[in-house]
Amino acid sequence: MATLEIKDLHVAVDTEDGQKPILRGVDLAVRAGETHAIMGPNGSGKSTLAYSIAGHPKYTIISGTVTLNGVDVLTMSVDERARAGLFLAMQYPVEVPGVSVSNFLRTAKTALDGEAPKLRTWVKDVNDAMDKVSMDREFAQRNVNEGFSGGEKKRHEIMQLELLNPKFAILDETDSGLDIDALKVVAEGVNRFRGQGDRGVLLITHYTRILRYIQPDYVHVFVNGRIAEQGGPELAEQLEAEGYDKYQRISA
Protein backbone atom coordinates (compact mmCIF):
# COMPACT_ATOMS: atom_id res chain seq x y z
CA MET A 1 0.00 0.00 0.00
CA ALA A 2 1.35 3.40 -1.00
CA THR A 3 2.38 5.43 2.04
CA LEU A 4 3.74 8.87 2.76
CA GLU A 5 5.79 8.39 5.88
CA ILE A 6 7.39 11.04 8.07
CA LYS A 7 9.75 9.87 10.80
CA ASP A 8 11.25 11.92 13.60
CA LEU A 9 11.47 14.98 11.37
CA HIS A 10 13.43 17.96 12.69
CA VAL A 11 13.40 21.10 10.56
CA ALA A 12 14.78 24.60 10.94
CA VAL A 13 13.80 27.70 9.00
CA ASP A 14 16.47 29.98 7.55
CA THR A 15 16.17 33.40 9.12
CA GLU A 16 18.33 36.49 8.96
CA ASP A 17 19.88 35.52 12.30
CA GLY A 18 20.61 31.96 11.27
CA GLN A 19 18.55 28.82 11.54
CA LYS A 20 15.61 28.62 13.86
CA PRO A 21 14.36 25.13 14.78
CA ILE A 22 10.63 24.70 14.15
CA LEU A 23 9.80 21.02 13.78
CA ARG A 24 10.94 18.90 16.73
CA GLY A 25 10.40 15.29 15.83
CA VAL A 26 7.29 14.76 13.70
CA ASP A 27 6.06 11.21 13.16
CA LEU A 28 3.20 10.63 10.76
CA ALA A 29 2.18 8.03 8.21
CA VAL A 30 -0.50 8.67 5.61
CA ARG A 31 -1.54 5.60 3.66
CA ALA A 32 -3.25 5.75 0.31
CA GLY A 33 -6.98 6.06 0.85
CA GLU A 34 -6.63 7.89 4.16
CA THR A 35 -7.38 11.47 5.10
CA HIS A 36 -5.51 12.99 8.02
CA ALA A 37 -6.40 16.33 9.50
CA ILE A 38 -3.78 18.39 11.27
CA MET A 39 -4.97 21.08 13.64
CA GLY A 40 -2.85 23.31 15.79
CA PRO A 41 -2.29 26.85 16.97
CA ASN A 42 -0.75 29.59 14.85
CA GLY A 43 2.98 29.29 14.53
CA SER A 44 3.09 25.67 15.69
CA GLY A 45 4.81 24.60 12.47
CA LYS A 46 2.03 23.18 10.29
CA SER A 47 3.04 25.06 7.17
CA THR A 48 6.65 24.28 7.92
CA LEU A 49 5.77 20.60 7.79
CA ALA A 50 3.92 21.05 4.51
CA TYR A 51 6.73 23.07 2.92
CA SER A 52 9.39 20.66 4.17
CA ILE A 53 7.63 17.74 2.52
CA ALA A 54 7.33 19.72 -0.71
CA GLY A 55 10.97 20.84 -0.55
CA HIS A 56 10.81 24.60 -0.11
CA PRO A 57 14.40 25.94 -0.14
CA LYS A 58 13.83 28.11 2.96
CA TYR A 59 13.73 25.07 5.24
CA THR A 60 16.65 22.91 6.33
CA ILE A 61 16.13 19.32 7.33
CA ILE A 62 18.15 18.68 10.46
CA SER A 63 17.28 15.04 10.91
CA GLY A 64 14.58 12.49 10.23
CA THR A 65 13.13 11.04 7.05
CA VAL A 66 10.27 11.51 4.64
CA THR A 67 9.57 8.62 2.31
CA LEU A 68 7.00 7.93 -0.37
CA ASN A 69 6.45 4.21 -0.82
CA GLY A 70 9.76 3.70 0.92
CA VAL A 71 11.65 6.04 -1.40
CA ASP A 72 13.53 8.96 0.15
CA VAL A 73 11.76 12.19 -0.73
CA LEU A 74 14.19 14.57 0.97
CA THR A 75 16.95 14.04 -1.59
CA MET A 76 14.58 14.88 -4.44
CA SER A 77 14.29 18.32 -5.99
CA VAL A 78 10.96 20.13 -5.63
CA ASP A 79 9.81 19.11 -9.09
CA GLU A 80 10.92 15.51 -8.63
CA ARG A 81 8.73 15.30 -5.55
CA ALA A 82 5.78 16.52 -7.56
CA ARG A 83 6.51 14.03 -10.30
CA ALA A 84 6.73 11.32 -7.64
CA GLY A 85 3.12 12.10 -6.77
CA LEU A 86 3.13 14.84 -4.12
CA PHE A 87 1.02 17.96 -4.32
CA LEU A 88 0.88 20.97 -2.03
CA ALA A 89 -2.07 23.34 -2.03
CA MET A 90 -0.51 26.40 -0.51
CA GLN A 91 -1.78 28.54 2.31
CA TYR A 92 -0.69 31.58 0.31
CA PRO A 93 -0.59 30.72 -3.39
CA VAL A 94 2.02 32.72 -5.26
CA GLU A 95 1.36 35.24 -8.02
CA VAL A 96 3.30 34.69 -11.23
CA PRO A 97 3.10 37.84 -13.37
CA GLY A 98 2.82 37.38 -17.10
CA VAL A 99 2.19 33.64 -16.94
CA SER A 100 -1.37 32.70 -17.80
CA VAL A 101 -3.20 30.02 -15.85
CA SER A 102 -3.62 28.15 -19.09
CA ASN A 103 0.10 28.19 -19.90
CA PHE A 104 0.99 27.32 -16.32
CA LEU A 105 -1.33 24.33 -16.19
CA ARG A 106 -0.21 23.03 -19.57
CA THR A 107 3.44 23.34 -18.59
CA ALA A 108 2.78 21.48 -15.34
CA LYS A 109 0.78 18.76 -17.04
CA THR A 110 3.47 18.31 -19.66
CA ALA A 111 6.16 18.07 -17.00
CA LEU A 112 4.18 15.52 -14.97
CA ASP A 113 3.26 13.33 -17.94
CA GLY A 114 6.51 13.67 -19.84
CA GLU A 115 4.57 14.71 -22.93
CA ALA A 116 2.29 17.53 -23.94
CA PRO A 117 -1.40 16.85 -23.43
CA LYS A 118 -3.52 16.40 -26.54
CA LEU A 119 -4.80 19.82 -27.38
CA ARG A 120 -8.45 19.01 -27.87
CA THR A 121 -9.07 16.91 -24.79
CA TRP A 122 -6.85 19.22 -22.75
CA VAL A 123 -8.92 22.33 -23.36
CA LYS A 124 -12.01 20.39 -22.37
CA ASP A 125 -10.29 18.98 -19.26
CA VAL A 126 -9.26 22.45 -18.15
CA ASN A 127 -12.73 23.85 -18.76
CA ASP A 128 -14.31 20.97 -16.84
CA ALA A 129 -11.91 21.42 -13.94
CA MET A 130 -12.70 25.12 -13.80
CA ASP A 131 -16.42 24.50 -13.99
CA LYS A 132 -16.22 22.00 -11.14
CA VAL A 133 -14.79 24.59 -8.75
CA SER A 134 -17.02 27.34 -10.12
CA MET A 135 -14.15 29.31 -11.60
CA ASP A 136 -15.12 31.45 -14.53
CA ARG A 137 -13.38 30.19 -17.67
CA GLU A 138 -11.90 33.62 -18.26
CA PHE A 139 -9.46 32.80 -15.44
CA ALA A 140 -7.55 30.59 -17.89
CA GLN A 141 -6.30 33.73 -19.63
CA ARG A 142 -5.44 35.60 -16.47
CA ASN A 143 -2.02 35.59 -14.91
CA VAL A 144 -1.47 32.94 -12.25
CA ASN A 145 -3.05 34.14 -8.98
CA GLU A 146 -2.54 37.77 -9.95
CA GLY A 147 -5.38 39.83 -8.61
CA PHE A 148 -7.29 36.69 -7.56
CA SER A 149 -9.32 37.10 -4.39
CA GLY A 150 -8.34 34.91 -1.44
CA GLY A 151 -11.15 32.49 -2.20
CA GLU A 152 -10.35 32.40 -5.91
CA LYS A 153 -6.76 31.47 -5.15
CA LYS A 154 -7.92 28.55 -3.02
CA ARG A 155 -10.32 27.31 -5.66
CA HIS A 156 -7.51 27.57 -8.18
CA GLU A 157 -5.40 25.30 -5.97
CA ILE A 158 -8.16 22.70 -5.80
CA MET A 159 -8.68 22.98 -9.53
CA GLN A 160 -5.02 22.09 -9.96
CA LEU A 161 -5.38 19.21 -7.52
CA GLU A 162 -8.10 17.69 -9.66
CA LEU A 163 -6.43 18.38 -12.97
CA LEU A 164 -2.96 17.19 -12.01
CA ASN A 165 -4.32 14.35 -9.86
CA PRO A 166 -1.35 13.46 -7.64
CA LYS A 167 -1.08 10.47 -5.27
CA PHE A 168 -0.81 12.47 -2.06
CA ALA A 169 -2.14 15.94 -1.46
CA ILE A 170 -1.19 18.28 1.34
CA LEU A 171 -3.76 21.02 1.74
CA ASP A 172 -2.49 23.87 3.86
CA GLU A 173 -5.48 25.82 5.15
CA THR A 174 -7.25 25.57 1.85
CA ASP A 175 -10.46 26.23 3.79
CA SER A 176 -9.33 29.51 5.33
CA GLY A 177 -10.99 32.63 4.02
CA LEU A 178 -13.70 30.79 2.11
CA ASP A 179 -17.35 31.71 2.22
CA ILE A 180 -19.77 28.86 2.78
CA ASP A 181 -20.42 28.22 -0.92
CA ALA A 182 -16.73 28.18 -1.76
CA LEU A 183 -16.09 25.90 1.19
CA LYS A 184 -18.55 23.40 -0.22
CA VAL A 185 -17.00 23.68 -3.67
CA VAL A 186 -13.54 23.05 -2.26
CA ALA A 187 -14.75 20.17 -0.09
CA GLU A 188 -16.47 18.55 -3.06
CA GLY A 189 -13.26 18.81 -5.04
CA VAL A 190 -11.26 17.16 -2.29
CA ASN A 191 -13.92 14.47 -1.93
CA ARG A 192 -13.84 13.71 -5.65
CA PHE A 193 -10.09 13.36 -5.36
CA ARG A 194 -10.45 11.07 -2.33
CA GLY A 195 -13.22 9.16 -4.02
CA GLN A 196 -10.68 7.57 -6.35
CA GLY A 197 -9.90 5.37 -3.35
CA ASP A 198 -6.14 5.21 -3.45
CA ARG A 199 -5.28 8.81 -2.74
CA GLY A 200 -3.88 10.20 0.50
CA VAL A 201 -4.78 13.60 1.96
CA LEU A 202 -3.10 15.64 4.67
CA LEU A 203 -5.49 18.42 5.54
CA ILE A 204 -4.17 21.29 7.61
CA THR A 205 -6.94 23.39 9.09
CA HIS A 206 -8.02 25.60 11.95
CA TYR A 207 -11.70 24.84 11.66
CA THR A 208 -13.86 21.81 12.28
CA ARG A 209 -16.26 23.41 9.81
CA ILE A 210 -14.50 21.81 6.83
CA LEU A 211 -14.28 18.46 8.60
CA ARG A 212 -18.06 18.23 8.41
CA TYR A 213 -17.70 18.10 4.65
CA ILE A 214 -14.44 16.19 4.47
CA GLN A 215 -14.54 13.42 7.03
CA PRO A 216 -11.01 12.68 8.22
CA ASP A 217 -9.90 9.23 9.26
CA TYR A 218 -7.46 10.66 11.76
CA VAL A 219 -7.01 13.97 13.52
CA HIS A 220 -3.62 15.12 14.81
CA VAL A 221 -3.04 17.95 17.22
CA PHE A 222 0.06 19.84 16.24
CA VAL A 223 1.72 21.90 18.96
CA ASN A 224 5.15 23.43 19.18
CA GLY A 225 6.64 21.58 16.23
CA ARG A 226 5.32 18.11 16.90
CA ILE A 227 2.22 16.00 17.14
CA ALA A 228 0.91 16.24 20.68
CA GLU A 229 -2.12 14.01 20.35
CA GLN A 230 -3.95 11.97 17.79
CA GLY A 231 -7.35 10.39 17.48
CA GLY A 232 -10.41 10.03 15.32
CA PRO A 233 -12.81 12.71 14.07
CA GLU A 234 -14.17 13.16 17.61
CA LEU A 235 -10.85 14.78 18.56
CA ALA A 236 -11.68 17.69 16.28
CA GLU A 237 -14.95 18.32 18.13
CA GLN A 238 -13.12 18.19 21.42
CA LEU A 239 -10.53 20.72 20.18
CA GLU A 240 -13.31 23.01 19.10
CA ALA A 241 -14.78 22.93 22.58
CA GLU A 242 -11.58 23.04 24.63
CA GLY A 243 -8.95 24.71 22.42
CA TYR A 244 -5.24 23.87 22.48
CA ASP A 245 -4.65 25.10 25.98
CA LYS A 246 -3.98 21.83 27.68
CA TYR A 247 -1.53 20.67 24.99
CA GLN A 248 0.35 23.91 25.03
CA ARG A 249 0.80 23.67 28.78
CA ILE A 250 2.10 20.14 28.48
CA SER A 251 4.59 20.93 25.72
CA ALA A 252 5.84 24.16 27.31
Binding site: P57, D79, E95, G98, A116
Partner: protein, 390 residues
Protein backbone atom coordinates in the same frame (compact mmCIF):
# COMPACT_ATOMS: atom_id res chain seq x y z
CA UNK B 1 10.89 49.54 -2.96
CA UNK B 2 8.13 51.99 -3.41
CA UNK B 3 7.90 55.58 -2.51
CA UNK B 4 4.69 57.30 -1.71
CA UNK B 5 4.04 60.94 -2.14
CA UNK B 6 5.23 61.90 1.30
CA UNK B 7 8.65 60.35 0.82
CA UNK B 8 8.82 61.69 -2.65
CA UNK B 9 8.33 65.23 -1.46
CA UNK B 10 10.98 64.83 1.17
CA UNK B 11 13.49 63.34 -1.20
CA UNK B 12 12.94 65.87 -3.94
CA UNK B 13 16.10 67.57 -5.07
CA UNK B 14 16.74 70.72 -7.00
CA UNK B 15 16.30 70.30 -10.72
CA UNK B 16 19.81 69.79 -12.00
CA UNK B 17 19.10 67.35 -14.69
CA UNK B 18 18.01 68.99 -17.80
CA UNK B 19 20.29 71.05 -19.92
CA UNK B 20 18.48 73.81 -21.77
CA UNK B 21 17.42 72.46 -25.15
CA UNK B 22 19.02 74.26 -28.05
CA UNK B 23 20.16 73.84 -31.63
CA UNK B 24 23.38 75.64 -30.83
CA UNK B 25 26.31 73.26 -30.40
CA UNK B 26 27.97 75.80 -28.12
CA UNK B 27 25.21 75.00 -25.60
CA UNK B 28 26.21 71.35 -25.65
CA UNK B 29 29.92 71.15 -24.90
CA UNK B 30 31.82 67.91 -25.21
CA UNK B 31 30.91 65.88 -22.11
CA UNK B 32 33.56 64.78 -19.66
CA UNK B 33 31.53 61.93 -18.22
CA UNK B 34 30.99 63.72 -14.92
CA UNK B 35 27.77 65.42 -16.03
CA UNK B 36 24.61 64.01 -14.50
CA UNK B 37 23.25 63.03 -17.91
CA UNK B 38 26.48 61.33 -18.96
CA UNK B 39 27.68 59.75 -15.75
CA UNK B 40 26.67 56.21 -16.66
CA UNK B 41 27.62 56.26 -20.33
CA UNK B 42 30.96 54.80 -21.49
CA UNK B 43 31.93 57.77 -23.68
CA UNK B 44 34.80 55.94 -25.35
CA UNK B 45 32.38 53.61 -27.00
CA UNK B 46 30.45 56.41 -28.71
CA UNK B 47 33.07 56.42 -31.44
CA UNK B 48 32.79 59.73 -33.23
CA UNK B 49 29.21 60.52 -32.31
CA UNK B 50 30.32 63.24 -29.88
CA UNK B 51 32.77 64.81 -32.33
CA UNK B 52 30.27 65.26 -35.07
CA UNK B 53 32.13 63.72 -37.99
CA UNK B 54 30.42 64.84 -41.14
CA UNK B 55 28.73 62.00 -42.91
CA UNK B 56 26.03 61.64 -45.48
CA UNK B 57 25.39 58.03 -44.48
CA UNK B 58 21.80 56.95 -44.25
CA UNK B 59 19.89 54.05 -42.84
CA UNK B 60 17.91 52.18 -45.40
CA UNK B 61 14.23 53.04 -45.04
CA UNK B 62 11.70 50.40 -45.85
CA UNK B 63 8.25 51.60 -44.97
CA UNK B 64 4.79 50.13 -45.16
CA UNK B 65 2.76 53.26 -45.51
CA UNK B 66 -0.96 53.09 -44.86
CA UNK B 67 -3.34 55.47 -46.53
CA UNK B 68 -3.61 58.85 -44.84
CA UNK B 69 0.01 59.35 -43.87
CA UNK B 70 2.62 61.15 -45.93
CA UNK B 71 6.36 60.84 -45.60
CA UNK B 72 8.48 63.62 -47.04
CA UNK B 73 11.86 65.25 -46.76
CA UNK B 74 12.01 68.73 -45.32
CA UNK B 75 14.83 71.14 -44.61
CA UNK B 76 16.27 71.74 -41.18
CA UNK B 77 14.71 75.18 -41.23
CA UNK B 78 11.31 73.74 -42.08
CA UNK B 79 11.62 71.27 -39.21
CA UNK B 80 12.34 74.15 -36.85
CA UNK B 81 9.40 76.07 -38.24
CA UNK B 82 7.10 73.17 -37.38
CA UNK B 83 7.89 73.85 -33.74
CA UNK B 84 9.77 70.62 -33.23
CA UNK B 85 11.35 69.80 -29.88
CA UNK B 86 14.89 71.08 -29.59
CA UNK B 87 17.97 68.92 -29.06
CA UNK B 88 18.69 68.41 -25.37
CA UNK B 89 22.14 66.93 -25.66
CA UNK B 90 25.19 67.06 -27.88
CA UNK B 91 24.59 63.98 -30.04
CA UNK B 92 21.05 65.07 -30.91
CA UNK B 93 22.21 68.62 -31.63
CA UNK B 94 24.85 67.14 -33.92
CA UNK B 95 22.24 64.93 -35.55
CA UNK B 96 20.20 68.00 -36.45
CA UNK B 97 23.25 70.04 -37.49
CA UNK B 98 24.72 67.29 -39.66
CA UNK B 99 21.52 65.64 -40.81
CA UNK B 100 21.01 67.98 -43.80
CA UNK B 101 17.25 68.02 -43.38
CA UNK B 102 14.65 65.86 -41.73
CA UNK B 103 12.10 63.23 -42.62
CA UNK B 104 8.57 64.33 -41.84
CA UNK B 105 5.95 61.71 -41.04
CA UNK B 106 2.70 63.55 -41.24
CA UNK B 107 -0.76 62.41 -40.24
CA UNK B 108 -3.20 65.24 -40.95
CA UNK B 109 -5.98 66.36 -38.65
CA UNK B 110 -9.00 64.06 -38.32
CA UNK B 111 -7.13 61.23 -40.03
CA UNK B 112 -7.28 57.78 -38.56
CA UNK B 113 -4.82 55.24 -39.92
CA UNK B 114 -6.41 51.89 -40.64
CA UNK B 115 -3.21 50.03 -39.91
CA UNK B 116 0.14 50.78 -38.30
CA UNK B 117 2.81 52.69 -40.17
CA UNK B 118 5.82 50.40 -39.97
CA UNK B 119 9.22 51.80 -40.85
CA UNK B 120 12.16 49.41 -40.99
CA UNK B 121 15.49 51.18 -40.72
CA UNK B 122 18.60 49.19 -41.30
CA UNK B 123 22.28 50.03 -41.24
CA UNK B 124 24.97 48.40 -43.33
CA UNK B 125 28.11 48.85 -41.27
CA UNK B 126 29.25 49.72 -37.74
CA UNK B 127 31.90 51.96 -39.31
CA UNK B 128 29.39 54.25 -40.90
CA UNK B 129 28.26 57.31 -38.98
CA UNK B 130 24.63 58.16 -39.64
CA UNK B 131 22.91 61.34 -38.53
CA UNK B 132 19.17 61.08 -38.37
CA UNK B 133 16.48 63.71 -37.98
CA UNK B 134 12.84 62.73 -37.87
CA UNK B 135 9.67 64.66 -37.17
CA UNK B 136 6.40 62.85 -36.54
CA UNK B 137 3.32 65.04 -36.55
CA UNK B 138 -0.28 64.17 -35.77
CA UNK B 139 -2.95 66.76 -36.38
CA UNK B 140 -5.99 67.49 -34.30
CA UNK B 141 -8.03 64.32 -33.58
CA UNK B 142 -5.70 62.19 -35.69
CA UNK B 143 -5.11 58.61 -34.66
CA UNK B 144 -2.06 56.56 -35.61
CA UNK B 145 0.26 53.76 -34.68
CA UNK B 146 3.86 54.29 -35.78
CA UNK B 147 6.52 51.62 -35.51
CA UNK B 148 10.24 52.20 -36.07
CA UNK B 149 12.30 49.07 -36.20
CA UNK B 150 16.11 49.27 -36.24
CA UNK B 151 18.33 46.45 -37.39
CA UNK B 152 21.72 45.81 -38.93
CA UNK B 153 24.56 47.96 -37.75
CA UNK B 154 25.54 51.61 -37.71
CA UNK B 155 26.84 54.40 -35.57
CA UNK B 156 23.58 56.23 -35.43
CA UNK B 157 22.55 59.39 -33.68
CA UNK B 158 19.02 60.57 -34.21
CA UNK B 159 16.86 63.40 -33.06
CA UNK B 160 13.20 62.52 -33.23
CA UNK B 161 10.52 65.06 -32.59
CA UNK B 162 6.96 63.95 -32.03
CA UNK B 163 4.23 66.56 -32.15
CA UNK B 164 0.86 65.27 -31.11
CA UNK B 165 -2.10 67.55 -31.77
CA UNK B 166 -5.01 68.18 -29.47
CA UNK B 167 -7.20 65.12 -28.83
CA UNK B 168 -5.00 63.01 -31.08
CA UNK B 169 -4.02 59.46 -30.21
CA UNK B 170 -0.57 58.14 -30.94
CA UNK B 171 0.99 54.74 -30.33
CA UNK B 172 4.69 55.00 -30.98
CA UNK B 173 6.86 51.90 -30.92
CA UNK B 174 10.59 51.84 -31.40
CA UNK B 175 12.46 48.57 -31.58
CA UNK B 176 16.22 48.51 -31.28
CA UNK B 177 17.08 45.10 -32.69
CA UNK B 178 20.57 46.02 -33.81
CA UNK B 179 23.49 43.72 -34.40
CA UNK B 180 25.94 43.40 -31.53
CA UNK B 181 28.31 46.10 -32.79
CA UNK B 182 25.89 48.96 -33.42
CA UNK B 183 25.87 52.24 -31.50
CA UNK B 184 22.59 54.11 -31.24
CA UNK B 185 22.04 57.44 -29.55
CA UNK B 186 18.47 58.56 -29.78
CA UNK B 187 16.61 61.49 -28.45
CA UNK B 188 12.86 61.46 -28.68
CA UNK B 189 11.08 64.67 -27.77
CA UNK B 190 7.33 64.35 -27.48
CA UNK B 191 4.80 67.14 -27.13
CA UNK B 192 1.41 65.95 -26.01
CA UNK B 193 -1.49 68.09 -27.12
CA UNK B 194 -4.46 69.06 -25.05
CA UNK B 195 -6.50 65.93 -24.21
CA UNK B 196 -4.23 63.87 -26.44
CA UNK B 197 -3.36 60.30 -25.54
CA UNK B 198 0.15 59.07 -26.23
CA UNK B 199 1.47 55.57 -25.69
CA UNK B 200 5.12 54.86 -26.34
CA UNK B 201 7.05 51.64 -26.26
CA UNK B 202 10.82 51.42 -26.44
CA UNK B 203 12.31 47.95 -26.80
CA UNK B 204 16.07 47.61 -26.84
CA UNK B 205 17.62 44.20 -27.28
CA UNK B 206 20.53 44.63 -29.64
CA UNK B 207 23.53 46.91 -30.09
CA UNK B 208 26.86 47.42 -28.38
CA UNK B 209 25.68 50.67 -26.86
CA UNK B 210 22.19 52.07 -27.03
CA UNK B 211 21.18 55.22 -25.24
CA UNK B 212 17.65 56.46 -25.73
CA UNK B 213 16.47 59.67 -24.14
CA UNK B 214 12.78 60.42 -24.08
CA UNK B 215 11.54 63.86 -23.15
CA UNK B 216 7.84 64.37 -22.71
CA UNK B 217 5.96 67.61 -22.18
CA UNK B 218 2.36 68.71 -22.53
CA UNK B 219 0.91 71.39 -24.75
CA UNK B 220 -2.21 71.78 -22.65
CA UNK B 221 -4.30 70.23 -19.93
CA UNK B 222 -5.81 66.76 -20.10
CA UNK B 223 -2.97 65.04 -21.95
CA UNK B 224 -2.22 61.45 -21.07
CA UNK B 225 1.01 59.53 -21.45
CA UNK B 226 1.77 55.86 -21.07
CA UNK B 227 5.47 55.19 -21.57
CA UNK B 228 6.59 51.58 -21.68
CA UNK B 229 9.96 50.03 -22.18
CA UNK B 230 11.73 46.73 -22.31
CA UNK B 231 15.43 46.07 -22.56
CA UNK B 232 17.71 43.12 -22.39
CA UNK B 233 21.42 43.61 -21.83
CA UNK B 234 23.79 40.79 -22.73
CA UNK B 235 27.46 40.41 -21.92
CA UNK B 236 29.30 43.65 -22.59
CA UNK B 237 26.20 45.54 -23.73
CA UNK B 238 25.38 49.01 -22.45
CA UNK B 239 21.71 49.88 -22.66
CA UNK B 240 20.55 53.18 -21.28
CA UNK B 241 17.06 54.59 -21.12
CA UNK B 242 16.40 58.00 -19.70
CA UNK B 243 13.07 59.64 -19.53
CA UNK B 244 12.04 63.05 -18.47
CA UNK B 245 8.37 63.69 -18.02
CA UNK B 246 7.64 67.36 -17.62
CA UNK B 247 4.22 67.85 -16.07
CA UNK B 248 3.95 71.43 -17.18
CA UNK B 249 0.17 71.52 -17.54
CA UNK B 250 -2.69 70.81 -15.15
CA UNK B 251 -4.77 67.62 -15.12
CA UNK B 252 -2.25 65.67 -17.14
CA UNK B 253 -1.38 62.04 -16.50
CA UNK B 254 1.66 59.88 -16.94
CA UNK B 255 2.48 56.29 -16.25
CA UNK B 256 5.85 54.80 -17.09
CA UNK B 257 6.72 51.11 -16.84
CA UNK B 258 10.13 49.82 -17.90
CA UNK B 259 11.34 46.29 -17.47
CA UNK B 260 14.84 45.04 -18.02
CA UNK B 261 16.69 41.78 -18.08
CA UNK B 262 20.43 41.35 -17.71
CA UNK B 263 22.68 38.42 -18.35
CA UNK B 264 26.37 37.87 -18.91
CA UNK B 265 29.61 39.47 -17.81
CA UNK B 266 29.60 43.24 -18.14
CA UNK B 267 25.96 43.59 -19.11
CA UNK B 268 24.98 47.07 -18.00
CA UNK B 269 21.58 48.69 -18.03
CA UNK B 270 20.71 52.18 -16.95
CA UNK B 271 17.25 53.47 -16.36
CA UNK B 272 16.73 57.03 -15.20
CA UNK B 273 13.21 58.29 -14.80
CA UNK B 274 12.78 61.94 -13.96
CA UNK B 275 9.38 63.40 -13.37
CA UNK B 276 8.98 67.10 -12.80
CA UNK B 277 5.68 68.42 -11.52
CA UNK B 278 5.62 72.13 -12.08
CA UNK B 279 3.69 74.67 -10.08
CA UNK B 280 1.06 74.95 -12.77
CA UNK B 281 0.52 71.19 -12.90
CA UNK B 282 -2.37 70.93 -10.48
CA UNK B 283 -4.47 67.80 -10.37
CA UNK B 284 -1.96 65.65 -12.21
CA UNK B 285 -1.27 61.97 -11.67
CA UNK B 286 2.01 60.23 -12.29
CA UNK B 287 3.62 56.92 -11.52
CA UNK B 288 6.79 55.32 -12.78
CA UNK B 289 8.05 51.81 -12.35
CA UNK B 290 11.30 50.14 -13.24
CA UNK B 291 11.98 46.45 -12.65
CA UNK B 292 15.15 44.62 -13.49
CA UNK B 293 15.67 40.91 -13.48
CA UNK B 294 19.29 39.92 -13.05
CA UNK B 295 19.81 36.50 -14.58
CA UNK B 296 23.51 35.92 -14.03
CA UNK B 297 26.48 37.23 -12.08
CA UNK B 298 28.59 40.03 -13.46
CA UNK B 299 25.73 42.33 -14.49
CA UNK B 300 24.96 45.81 -13.35
CA UNK B 301 21.55 47.48 -13.39
CA UNK B 302 21.35 51.13 -12.43
CA UNK B 303 17.87 52.35 -11.68
CA UNK B 304 17.27 55.95 -10.71
CA UNK B 305 13.70 57.16 -10.31
CA UNK B 306 13.32 60.77 -9.36
CA UNK B 307 10.37 63.01 -8.64
CA UNK B 308 10.57 66.76 -8.32
CA UNK B 309 7.38 68.29 -7.06
CA UNK B 310 6.69 72.00 -7.09
CA UNK B 311 3.02 71.87 -6.17
CA UNK B 312 1.15 69.89 -3.55
CA UNK B 313 -2.15 70.18 -5.41
CA UNK B 314 -1.86 66.90 -7.26
CA UNK B 315 -3.88 63.71 -7.41
CA UNK B 316 -1.02 61.34 -6.98
CA UNK B 317 2.63 60.76 -7.64
CA UNK B 318 4.93 57.89 -6.93
CA UNK B 319 7.56 55.55 -8.17
CA UNK B 320 8.80 52.05 -7.65
CA UNK B 321 12.08 50.49 -8.55
CA UNK B 322 13.28 46.98 -7.93
CA UNK B 323 16.23 45.03 -9.15
CA UNK B 324 16.67 41.43 -8.23
CA UNK B 325 17.18 37.86 -9.09
CA UNK B 326 14.52 35.24 -9.52
CA UNK B 327 11.79 35.21 -6.94
CA UNK B 328 12.28 31.97 -5.00
CA UNK B 329 8.61 31.77 -4.10
CA UNK B 330 7.59 31.90 -7.76
CA UNK B 331 10.11 29.25 -8.73
CA UNK B 332 9.04 27.04 -5.83
CA UNK B 333 5.38 27.35 -6.71
CA UNK B 334 5.95 26.39 -10.33
CA UNK B 335 8.38 23.59 -9.48
CA UNK B 336 5.97 22.19 -6.92
CA UNK B 337 3.72 21.42 -9.90
CA UNK B 338 6.37 19.17 -11.40
CA UNK B 339 8.12 21.69 -13.63
CA UNK B 340 11.94 21.57 -13.62
CA UNK B 341 13.90 24.50 -12.28
CA UNK B 342 15.18 25.51 -15.72
CA UNK B 343 11.74 25.41 -17.22
CA UNK B 344 10.33 27.32 -14.23
CA UNK B 345 12.93 30.05 -14.72
CA UNK B 346 12.14 30.24 -18.38
CA UNK B 347 8.46 30.58 -17.58
CA UNK B 348 9.07 33.34 -15.03
CA UNK B 349 11.28 35.39 -17.35
CA UNK B 350 8.94 34.87 -20.22
CA UNK B 351 6.10 36.09 -18.03
CA UNK B 352 8.12 39.05 -16.80
CA UNK B 353 8.50 40.31 -20.35
CA UNK B 354 5.25 39.03 -21.83
CA UNK B 355 3.42 41.20 -19.33
CA UNK B 356 4.89 44.36 -20.80
CA UNK B 357 5.03 43.21 -24.42
CA UNK B 358 1.27 42.86 -24.49
CA UNK B 359 1.02 46.62 -23.94
CA UNK B 360 2.20 47.16 -27.52
CA UNK B 361 -1.12 46.08 -28.98
CA UNK B 362 0.31 45.58 -32.45
CA UNK B 363 0.11 41.77 -32.77
CA UNK B 364 2.88 41.35 -35.34
CA UNK B 365 5.25 43.47 -33.27
CA UNK B 366 4.33 41.66 -30.06
CA UNK B 367 5.08 38.34 -31.71
CA UNK B 368 8.35 39.55 -33.12
CA UNK B 369 9.48 40.79 -29.71
CA UNK B 370 8.45 37.62 -27.92
CA UNK B 371 10.54 35.64 -30.36
CA UNK B 372 13.46 38.04 -29.91
CA UNK B 373 13.21 37.73 -26.12
CA UNK B 374 13.06 33.94 -26.36
CA UNK B 375 16.21 34.05 -28.46
CA UNK B 376 17.95 36.17 -25.82
CA UNK B 377 16.90 33.75 -23.11
CA UNK B 378 18.04 30.75 -25.06
CA UNK B 379 21.57 32.09 -24.72
CA UNK B 380 21.71 31.63 -20.96
CA UNK B 381 18.56 30.44 -19.34
CA UNK B 382 18.41 26.80 -20.27
CA UNK B 383 16.09 25.71 -23.00
CA UNK B 384 12.91 23.91 -22.02
CA UNK B 385 13.32 20.31 -20.97
CA UNK B 386 9.86 19.36 -22.01
CA UNK B 387 8.13 19.99 -25.26
CA UNK B 388 5.36 22.47 -24.84
CA UNK B 389 2.01 22.02 -26.48
CA UNK B 390 0.65 24.43 -29.02
Amino acid sequence: MSTNLQDAVESSVASHLHPVPSYDLADHPLPTGREEVWRFTPLKRLRGLLDGDASDGHLKWDARIPEGVTISEISTAEAAALGETLPADRPSALAVANGAGAVLVDVPAETELGEPLVVRLSGASPDEVVWGHIVVRLGLHAKATVVFEHSGSARYSVSTSVLVGASAQLDLVSLQLWDDDAVHLGQVGVRIGRDAHVRTFQATLGGDLVRVIENFAYDGPGGELEAFGLYFADAGQHIEHRLFIDHNAPHTKSNAVYKGGLQGEGAHSVWVGDVLIRKAAEGIETFETNRNLVLTDGCRADSVPNLEIETGEIKGAGHASATGRFDDEQLFYIQSRGVTEDEARRLVVHGFFADIIKKIKVPEVEERLLVAVEAELARHVATPTSVRGA
